[in-house]
């Protein structure tokens, strides 16, 4: 780890001296397993002047671009970013509202309502790591013509942080203090030194609401605000009509604060239906310009692309499909609870069995055959931003080796061809949600396991039940009452602190917390807990990155968690359309920059 750290420090110095371009540094960090946003923040913390990240824009005048049509296969139901639990609602409200800054695909902060990104250099980030001062852009107006000021930012933090308002962003704002310094400067104070200070006021959680519109609807009255469906924001498009659960229409905001934006005169977003026909509407009939999250088998997408009318674009975030081997025993009740944290799984306690399971998953083949461009094979749980990606892990597929490992571990084949030791048979129930690719994946794994003397019983649960949070249902992924399970977990923020919290002991999912916490495999490791705790206060970005790499290695090398694929986000785009996407922010995060070639 030391070597790793020294290497990063050396690179930072090179950037500072101008020997290494910023982009090159980020590329190298990504190679070392850090995410791009993290690499960007490494430089920021190290005091290397943050060449303000910008997005290239080709438009030369405001409007005149015609109509931009987006198709979603889920439909937004309201347009308040602080109530938006689902991606569809977030994306829709992000059209109208803007945060102080958004995250580009390299993980850099790009100013929206901020005049500049705070850094140690420009005095924005306090030396003690507890305060951040944001300078706001001047001359910004709300859609109703009123000016945007620091009051709106202060109000937004109060509004979202008030538990009575019941926002989904309350966790971000309830403990921080946002104060007005002058009409266009705000100061954020954190209760303790916060290495990842750039969560509040950025991205979707940072969308600023107009004080004069929402002021009277704070707290329990929040539901009654007409602006929940008739947004008054600062964004490039203004609302014309919104039909919850169906569609929305917007028109260009001719008073938008970025020159020559937006390019399009009108914007239409249609929701509902299914992913395959959404892909068809863009790639085959071009009724729509851009389709969101086309979770369709790559085979089909390629066939649709063959029409030559559109293309697929993939953006790598850190969403990961992985297999969990239960740490606890799901078949025995301890204190009236199945899979109690006090129990031990009869077979998976032996590392040889876990090792064998990992060897029996043919990631490369499954990735290529089943998911195509929709999966990037990986041996890490934490894959992006690249600066957190561990270089220390690897994966292998070998039935022979698995057999050897099991043989050496004392697991001998019985008359039925299934290995057993001390009366424990290698017979497992393997559950996942109902989905074509996942069932194929299950079948391929089962086939390999059979050859190694492990018998898998495949089980697939309807997604609504599997991912549902019904505490009375035995088949949820949160209960994990089976030996093995497989699903994708998403990483919403470019900072991994929250993402990596899902393996700390405190988060063990069990009866006492109604299975509502996040450590579903019930994996527990003192060293991991200590590293996670350290990451919450470690201010040196290099050391902090090293901590996350260490956490990844601990969890992956113990083999209870077997990462399979990072899942990039698939978008369908018609020819000539030039959207700007980011894996670390909403689809509509930079809508003003979208253009269409003539």
């Amino acid at each position: 780890m030391d070597k790793h750290e020294r290497h990063i420090r050396q690179l930072i110095d090179e950037v500072r001296d101008g020997q290494l371009p910023r982009r090159g540094f980020i590329a190298q960090m990504v190679g070392l397993g850090l995410t791009a946003p993290m690499a960007g923040m490494l430089l920021m913390h190290a005091g290397v002047a943050n060449a303000q990240a910008t997005i290239p824009y080709k438009g030369t005048k405001r409007g005149g671009g015609g109509t931009l049509k987006l198709i979603y296969w889920q439909a937004a139901v309201h347009l308040n970013p602080h109530f938006a639990g689902g991606t569809k609602d977030q994306d829709a409200s992000r059209i109208f509202y803007e945060p102080l800054a958004g995250w580009d695909s390299d993980g850099n902060l790009v100013p929206a309502l901020a005049a500049e990104i705070p850094s140690k250099e420009n005095g924005g980030v306090g030396a003690d790591g507890k305060t951040v001062t944001w300078k706001l852009k001047k001359g910004v107006t709300w859609h109703d013509g009123k000016p945007f000021t620091a009051d709106d930012v202060v109000f937004t933090a109060q509004y979202a942080g008030d538990p009575a308002t019941s926002t989904v962003t309350v966790a971000t704002y309830k403990d921080i203090k946002v104060e007005k310094v002058d009409s266009h400067t705000v100061k954020v104070t954190y209760p303790k030194p916060t290495p990842f200070w750039a969560e509040a006021l950025t991205g979707i959680v940072g969308c600023i609401l107009p004080k004069h519109v929402f002021e009277v609807f704070m707290g329990a009255k929040s539901r009654e605000a007409a602006a929940n469906t008739k947004p008054v924001g600062t964004g490039p498009y203004k609302i014309v009509d919104f039909k919850p659960g169906d569609s929305l229409v917007a028109e260009a905001n001719m008073a938008y604060h970025v020159p020559n934006q937006p390019f399009f005169d009108r914007l239409e977003v249609k929701g509902g239906g299914d992913a395959l026909s959404a892909a068809r509407a863009v790639l085959q009939t071009t009724e729509y310009d851009v389709a969101w999250n086309l979770a369709v088998e790559d085979e089909l997408l390629k066939r649709l692309e063959a029409a030559g009318k559109g293309r697929m674009e993939f953006y790598a975030g850190s969403d990961i499909e992985f297999v969990s081997l239960n740490v606890t025993d799901p078949w025995k009740e301890v204190d009236g609870e199945r899979a109690s944290a006090k129990s031990k799984h009869p077979a998976f306690t032996d590392k040889a069995v876990r090792e064998a399971m990992s060897l029996l998953i043919d990631r490369k083949n499954i990735g290529e055959q089943v998911y195509g461009r929709g999966a990037v094979v990986t041996s890490n749980f934490l894959n992006n931003p690249p600066r957190y990606r561990s270089p220390n892990t690897k994966y292998e597929f070998s039935i022979d080796k698995a057999n050897q490992v099991l043989e050496a571990g004392g697991w001998k084949k019985g008359a039925d061809g299934i290995r057993a030791k001390d009366g424990v048979k290698l017979k497992f129930v393997f559950q996942t949600s109902v989905s074509g690719p996942r069932q194929k994946c299950q079948a391929i794994i089962k086939d390999a396991c059979t050859k190694a003397g492990i018998d898998l019983e495949l089980k697939s649960v309807v997604a609504a039940v599997f991912f549902g949070s019904d505490a009375a249902n035995p088949d949820t992924y949160q209960k994990f009452w089976s030996d093995i399970q497989m699903f994708t977990t998403t990483m919403g923020s470019p900072d991994p602190q929250f993402f990596m919290e899902q393996f700390v002991t405190e988060q063990l999912s069990q009866k006492a917390n109604k299975w509502s916490s996040r450590n579903l495999a019930r994996w527990s490791n003192a060293e991991y807990d200590a590293a996670h705790k350290a990451s919450q206060t470690e201010f040196d970005p290099v050391k902090r990155a090293a901590l996350f790499v260490k956490m990844n290695d601990l969890v992956v090398n113990d083999k209870h968690i077997i990462p399979l694929f990072a899942r990039p986000r698939p978008y369908g785009v018609v020819n000539k359309m030039k959207p700007v996407f980011s894996a670390w922010d909403n689809t509509t995060w930079a809508l003003g920059y979208w253009t269409r070639d003539a």
Partner: protein, 319 residues
């Protein structure tokens, strides 16, 4: 007659009350939570979910919640959706127009096809016309709408490129162009639904007419020299329509319920898709409102059917 209608409406009240009790209890006892989305979102602390539950009264006992719902319903307050936090009547009124335009039209198309074809087929049973019509009818109701829908899309949208397959409730065009666009986007769903319905209705009409056309009074009508047209229209169809009216009247509330599958395929924002979304997300107020309106319509159309019987056959009297 008026007395009869008033009496029927009064009898309907207790049945509506009973229906609402049953609906509410079943929904309250069903597992699930409208804030499941929040529970699955790791960024949302459980307190938020608890606060929302308390705020929306989900933690009160069932009978209290029912009385509260009934009280506000009587005052004309339909409540608000737990998911979108929008008033239920707004949600429904936004979708009723599209639903009636598309589903209502399709029923009309079905009737316009089924009646003449069914009657003609029955007048000359086992003729070539009857055989072709019956075969097509069997094909028609054997093919589910999700199959014909996708088939239509592949043919008319993808291959030929004539018609759009995404239904838009917010067409930007105006004037004549609006009507043209509206026609183009509606024709596929209306045809798919209408022909499916027409197929089964046509069989009903045919058998109802066949039953009547062999009766003695029809022979009498013919023998006193009436033209075939008059015999069929005035004497046969009128009597044969009674069972058909029952069938069609009971089908009418379904117009309001929408056609969930077809709405999904063509992305039509109708009541059906509102209901299915609400059910999937345990959005009780929306489910209650839609199903309640639905039961009102069932009762209402039953009454309409009864009144129509009297018009079709004056021997049926109301007491």
């Amino acid at each position: 007659m008026i007395n009869y209608i008033i009496r029927r409406l009064l009898i309907a009240l207790p049945s509506l009350l009973g229906i609402s009790v049953v609906l509410f209890t079943v929904l309250a006892l069903a597992p699930g939570d409208p804030f499941e989305d929040l529970a699955n979102n790791p960024n949302v602390p459980p307190e938020v979910r608890m606060a929302l539950r308390a705020q929306f009264g989900l933690d009160d006992p069932i009978w209290q919640r029912y009385l509260h719902w009934l009280g506000s319903m009587l005052k004309g307050d339909w409540g608000f959706s737990f998911i979108s936090r929008i008033n239920v009547d707004t949600l429904i009124s936004q979708r009723i127009g599209v639903t009636i335009a598309v589903i209502g039209m399709s029923q009309l198309v079905a009737l316009l096809v089924a009646l003449p074809v069914g009657v003609l087929a029955a007048v000359k049973p086992y003729s070539w016309f009857d055989r072709i019509a019956s075969t097509l009818a069997f094909v028609g109701f054997s093919l589910p709408t999700f199959f014909t829908g996708v088939l239509f899309i592949l043919l008319f949208s993808v291959q030929l490129g004539w018609l759009p397959f995404v239904y838009r409730s917010d067409l930007s065009s105006t004037g004549w162009q609006w009507w043209v666009d509206q026609f183009k986007q509606s024709i596929m769903p209306i045809t798919v639904l209408g022909l499916f319905q027409a197929a089964s209705w046509m069989r009903y009409v045919r058998s109802a007419v066949l039953d009547v056309i062999r009766l003695d009074y029809v022979t009498t009508a013919r023998s006193k020299g009436l033209g075939e047209r008059a015999v069929v229209n005035k004497h046969v169809v009128r009597n044969a329509l009674i069972p058909v009216v029952t069938l069609v009247a009971l089908q009418m509330p379904a117009v309001f319920g929408g056609a969930i599958v077809t709405e999904q395929i063509f992305r039509i924002p109708g009541i059906g898709s509102l209901l299915i979304d609400a059910i999937l997300r345990n959005d009780t107020p929306v489910i209650m409102a839609v199903t309640f309106v639905f039961s009102c319509l069932v009762i209402f159309f039953n009454l309409v059917a009864d009144v129509l019987y009297g018009w079709l056959d004056p021997r049926i009297s109301y007491r």
